[in-house]
């Protein structure tokens, strides 16, 4: 039997974000939300562990109340129960505040073998909440896990660092952040989607978790946003023309030589 808590985030679908070209501001109001990509890998792994060993998979989210719709997808993928910490007081929180709320929620959820998080969320991509949560809970941590096996209370994981590949053994309970290489997340079928609508979503407010007001939201944050702007794109966008591939290639070669980016070639 294994009990896994999977931290999942309702993220902005970054491929759908539009930019107001005049002001370089992002138009995020109507950008669609989705379950963050790597969180699905974390969830898939948890569900596979449960299918093999028996037990329970619960998800934990900090987000607005409308995150429920997104979280239903996680329940359809095989999670048994979802917890959402949602309170207007949490708004504007950075990773210090977010990890505090999640840590208190984990304590309330109770005993577990593993906490799994995606390597980073697709929208802010900070990769901070996983390690912060592990440290708050005093758990062993391995980040960037791409292979996971669990035998009794020992997990063996593989991960890539930039210049090496490591195999690490850890006693549970432990927290891992996982990469996309770990598995291929399932796409729930209609039956699973229907079953998910009957599963329980528990909503917790700040008061349900006995949180200190000065440690959540903007008050509990160590950084403030100054601006979020689209980068300036100053590219030439010159279309290379030609009747044939070799003519186009020659025109491109001339342009690169003229720009001074190709000065010599090895014959």
């Amino acid at each position: 039997m294994v009990r896994v808590i999977v931290c999942i985030k309702q993220a902005m679908d970054v491929s759908q974000i539009k930019v107001d070209t005049a002001t370089r501001r992002l138009i995020t109001v109507d950008a669609p939300k989705k379950l963050s990509d790597f969180d699905k890998n974390a969830l898939e792994e948890a569900v596979r562990l449960k299918e093999k060993l028996g037990g329970e998979v619960v998800t934990l989210t900090l987000g607005p109340e409308d995150a429920k719709t997104t979280i239903r997808e996680a329940l359809a993928m095989g999670a048994d129960k979802a917890y959402i910490a949602s309170d207007p007081a949490f708004e504007g929180g950075d990773t210090v505040a977010t990890s505090y709320v999640l840590a208190e929620a984990v304590k309330k959820i109770g005993a577990f073998d593993l906490i799994l998080c995606g390597e980073a969320s697709i929208d802010s991509f900070s990769a901070l909440v996983g390690p912060r949560l592990a440290d708050r809970l005093g758990l062993p941590l391995v980040m960037y896990v791409k292979k996971l096996t669990l035998e009794g209370d020992t997990a063996t994981v593989e991960r890539n660092l930039e210049d090496s590949e490591e195999i690490v053994k850890v006693k549970t309970p432990a927290l891992f952040t996982v990469t996309k290489e770990l598995n291929e997340p399932r796409i729930p079928n209609l039956m699973a989607i229907m079953k998910a609508s009957k599963k329980e979503i528990v909503m917790w407010k700040a008061a349900d978790l006995n949180l200190s007001a000065e440690k959540v939201g903007e008050a509990g944050s160590a950084i403030r946003i100054v601006s979020v702007l689209a980068p300036k794109v100053e590219r030439k966008k010159v279309k290379i023309t030609g009747q044939s591939a070799s003519e186009m290639a020659e025109n491109l070669a001339k342009a690169l030589i003229q720009d001074g980016v190709v000065k010599q070639v090895k014959m």
């Binding site: 090496s164 490591e166 290379i240 491109l252 014959m267």
Partner: protein, 325 residues
């Protein structure tokens, strides 16, 4: 007045420390404070001397046989002890996978902020650290200001130029820290990866293959052009992950970020995650059969065509045009 003083750098990679010392020197100058390099490990004297003559006013060392070989918990306890004792106001961490873990966990222990993968750093009028980083999969750059000290920021390699050697020599200070936390994890095997990561982010020319490459063997046409230009070949995340052609790091937001003089993308559609890794290239050439490929929106030269024809023809054309007469 804050009790925090000094701009520190820390990385398990000496090269990154030397690069961050350039920024640290600039920030410390404006703040009228000192730069400090923190060095954790075993037998660190030689590296300490190098840092002391490359812009570090102080090199703080935690030198102990127990620190031979990196371990997150052990190193973290040394870091936390050093920071609590000396109270720097800014700590720059080298943004490697190891460095980001340490930065995140140190920030948690101190209940302070941390900004990963900074593309630039500055100060506001109150002398607070202002960081810039790419968010939303590359569609925006976010600027943050820190409101609590110490202020922790992670800096990827090659963000700043390496600090030149100085005549002035900084002071090496042994912090005498000798108590470390035991590891909570057991590393049973470490295999070095043969990825060209280190070379890729230094290459002047990078030719990158994407989904448009049909077979792994076809990379030889990219390699041939790359050899001619004295460059390096890279690949996108799907070729490493979905097709499992390569191990190690791909080019993109979650992998290696490059800034070559010339980038040539072959058969790359240009998903925003990839684009975020090539944005700082000087000249971007995109070759794709699909006229609608998003990468064309950020290319200097747009080639709508078959990479299997264009790449060899480009190599031939450059050789013809640049042949020694």
């Amino acid at each position: 007045m804050s009790e925090h003083h000094g701009v520190w750098v820390y990385s398990e990679k000496t090269d990154l420390m030397l690069e961050m010392l350039t920024k640290a020197t600039e920030l410390a100058g404006k703040l009228k404070t000192e730069t400090g390099a923190l060095l954790i490990g075993s037998d660190v004297k030689a590296t300490a001397d190098q840092l002391a003559s490359s812009g570090a006013d102080k090199v703080y060392i935690v030198d102990n046989p127990a620190l031979k070989g990196f371990n997150a918990e052990t190193y973290l306890s040394a870091l936390a002890a050093a920071v609590k004792e000396r109270k720097p106001e800014i700590i720059l961490f080298g943004s490697t996978r190891k460095g980001r873990e340490l930065a995140a966990r140190l920030a948690t222990r101190l209940e302070v902020g941390c900004v990963p993968d900074c593309t630039n750093l500055g100060l506001d009028e109150q002398g607070r650290l202002v960081s810039e980083r790419v968010v939303y999969g590359g569609s925006a750059s976010a600027s943050h200001v820190f409101v609590i000290k110490p202020q922790i920021a992670c800096v990827p390699s090659r963000t700043f130029e390496r600090h030149p050697p100085t005549e002035k020599k900084g002071e090496v200070v042994d912090l005498g820290i000798g108590q470390f936390d035991a590891s909570k994890t057991e590393t049973v095997e470490v295999k070095p990866l043969e990825a060209g990561g280190g070379k890729l982010d230094e290459a002047k020319v990078v030719i990158v293959g994407g989904r448009g490459i049909e077979k792994k063997e076809d990379f030889k046409i990219l390699e041939s052009l790359s050899y001619a230009l004295g460059g390096q070949v890279g690949y996108t995340r799907p070729l490493a992950e979905d097709r499992k052609w390569f191990k190690g790091d791909w080019i993109g937001l979650s992998g290696i970020k490059i800034k070559p003089v010339l980038y040539i993308g072959a058969g790359i559609s240009g998903v925003i995650q990839h684009v975020a890794g090539i944005r700082d290239s000087q000249v971007i050439v995109a070759i794709n059969k699909d006229e609608q490929a998003p990468i064309f929106e950020m290319a200097d030269y747009i080639v709508v065509g078959d990479l299997y024809e264009i790449i060899p023809a480009l190599e031939a054309a450059l050789k013809k045009l640049l042949a020694p007469s």
